[in-house]
């Protein structure tokens, strides 16, 4: 479980528009890496290239390489579907399947993977819900619709759904931006505990959140609107927030712009 991500010279395009330019970075296994930066700097776009969700958008394509341990995710032999089974994702807005029960939401990924054994499915669902700190709140209403939960619970349900398929890496695209502070705290605690098992990459607009949960922080910025976003620097979170190398990073974290 948990793999290293190695990105080299990655350019990300929407059609002919270059959205992200020349990103190289390494993400260590069993760590939390946070992406921060102003809106439109391409951090979410870049995140989506790590499980090949970027190409779901018409015209989306990349140049460069993303290695997951020894495997190039963008090699011609690699099926994007299997990439997404290895690299899970949690989105900005909680998106449980509205027509499914809580149980079925968590079991959805297992069923897609062809797991039929009832006992295995039931056990994995319980384990995943416990892993997402949601079990105690929903164990008596597993057959109720997932959409009936509160926003924070729905997001934890989505996390449970993602960890149920035992991915190597978990990507989180602003997972708390639609949630209240209490729910945010619950998710942040969860992220820290999930680090033991997964490699986690999180995009956030909340710098305190990055400081609280991440081991390393990457700052993205763009020169001007319409120009591609770039990785400005990546370092240990403590360093980025106390003693960054780049002036732009310091300006951003001290609130002078962005």
């Amino acid at each position: 479980m948990a793999k290293r991500i190695d990105v080299k010279d990655l350019n990300v395009y929407y059609g002919n528009f270059k959205a992200v330019e020349d990103v190289s970075m390494t993400v260590e296994p069993r760590s939390v890496t946070a992406f921060i930066g102003p809106s439109g700097c391409g951090k979410s776009t870049f995140l989506r290239t790590l499980n090949r969700m970027h190409e779901v958008i018409p015209g989306g394509r990349v140049e460069g390489s993303v290695m997951l341990d020894e495997e190039d995710l963008y090699s011609a032999k690699v099926d994007p579907v299997s990439v997404r089974r290895t690299v899970g994702m949690v989105f900005q807005r909680p998106n449980p399947f509205p027509t499914m029960s809580i149980f079925d939401n968590v079991a959805a990924g297992l069923r897609l993977n062809g797991v039929k054994n009832r006992k295995v499915v039931t056990e994995t669902v319980e384990k995943s819900l416990r892993g997402a700190n949601l079990w105690n709140e929903v164990k008596d209403r597993l057959d109720k619709p997932g959409a009936g939960l509160s926003g924070g619970q729905q997001q934890r349900l989505c996390i449970a759904r993602a960890i149920a398929v035992q991915p190597e890496v978990m990507l989180m695209d602003e997972p708390c931006s639609a949630l209240d502070p209490i729910s945010t705290l619950a998710i942040e605690d969860l992220i820290v505990s999930l680090k033991d098992e997964f490699t986690i990459v999180i995009v956030t607009h909340n710098m305190q959140q990055a400081a609280r949960v991440s081991d390393r922080t990457a700052f993205f910025n763009l020169a001007a609107t319409g120009k591609p976003g770039r990785l400005i620097e990546i370092d240990d979170t403590a360093t980025i927030f106390s003693n960054p190398v780049q002036k732009a990073t310091e300006d951003y974290i001290s609130g002078r712009f962005g």
């Binding site: 969700m53 997404r84 989105f91 399947f97 509205p98 993977n113 759904r161 398929v165």
Partner: protein, 328 residues
């Protein structure tokens, strides 16, 4: 569901002096609310009055019917000696409609999935318009094309089915010129644009978040459609099918042209390779004879059954849609 009252909640909020401005209504709200209420009432009234008309005209003839209305295949509504039953007509109507739905629902749903999930954008729009155009072709054209052009192509197939499976009541001979089978297929083409257009609308509304959620779990395109798009569109597809079925049950002129009529007094038969009459085509074929209230009443009784049938089918559809309402 909340009722329309023509008053907005703002009107219940206390004003600066602390009093609720009771009775004060904004003109726009009153007009709009009134118009919405009125159109709702008008629709219900039209349906109710249709039912009342059919029932009051049909009941006297039904009481004078010398044979069992539901189980007889006779249809001789002579004034003074009314003998009419709907068994054969009901069977023909239901057979043609069921057959049309068996073909049109899967085809329409697949069509809608193609247009919303698979087709590139430059193709999706023109293709959708072409399918919509099918709805603009008059029924008489479908009828003439069905019997003149299409039917001859099916002669071989119908004969083969009859040769191989003729022992089964549904495929008994002798094969008529215009069969229930042919009419079912033509009717399927006629209801296809309705089912496609409405299914397309609901499938296109599937939230991107749901689709991406499925893809991010490692779903293939088909698995994504099965997990996110189809469940989301289920209620819409049922409604679309019901509208299609409504059209199929009531279709008149194409059926009248295509399906061969059967000699009066024929015993009940179930075969889809023979002719017959539906409620609508029965009424159309005999419209010239509506000169006596009691024989006219027989036809109106047939219309009443069609009316009730539509209601029952719609009620079943509602039950299907509402059964998992909490999950919608």
């Amino acid at each position: 569901m909340s009722s329309i009252t023509g008053r907005s909640t703002v009107d219940q909020v206390p004003g600066p002096t602390g009093d609720v401005p009771r009775g004060r209504r904004r003109l726009g709200d009153t007009l709009f609310g009134g118009a919405a209420n009125l159109s709702g009432v008008v629709v219900i009234a039209i349906v109710a009055l249709t039912g009342v008309f059919l029932a009051t005209r049909a009941v006297p003839s039904l009481l004078d019917d010398k044979v069992n209305f539901l189980t007889s295949t006779e249809w001789v509504p002579e004034p003074g000696n009314l003998r009419f039953g709907i068994l054969q007509i009901l069977w023909t109507t239901v057979s043609i409609s069921v057959m049309a739905m068996i073909i049109a629902v899967p085809l329409g749903v697949l069509n809608a999935l193609f247009l919303t999930q698979y087709a590139p954008r430059w193709l999706a729009r023109p293709a959708a318009s072409v399918i919509d155009l099918l709805a603009a072709i008059p029924s008489i054209v479908y009828g003439l094309w069905g019997i003149q052009v299409f039917a001859p192509h099916l002669t071989g197939l119908q004969k083969a089915v009859n040769d191989g499976l003729g022992w089964f009541p549904l495929f008994e001979g002798p094969i008529s010129a215009g069969t229930i089978f042919i009419a079912g297929i033509v009717l399927a083409i006629m209801v296809l644009p309705i089912i496609t257009a409405l299914s397309r609308e609901v499938f296109a509304q599937t939230p991107a978040a749901n689709k991406e959620g499925a893809l991010a779990l490692g779903a293939t395109k088909w698995e994504m459609i099965r997990t996110a798009v189809l469940p989301f569109g289920r209620a819409g597809v049922v409604s679309a099918s019901m509208l299609g079925l409504g059209r199929a049950l009531g279709e008149t002129i194409a059926i009248t042209i295509i399906v061969s009529s059967v000699a009066p007094g024929t015993d009940f038969f179930a075969s889809w390779l023979q002719g017959g009459e539906t409620f609508a085509s029965k009424i159309a074929n005999n419209a010239a004879e509506f000169n006596d209230p009691s024989s006219t009443g027989a036809y109106i009784a047939a219309g009443l059954v069609l009316f009730v049938l539509t209601f029952v089918v719609n009620a079943i559809a509602r039950v299907i849609v509402n059964r998992r309402k909490a999950f919608a």
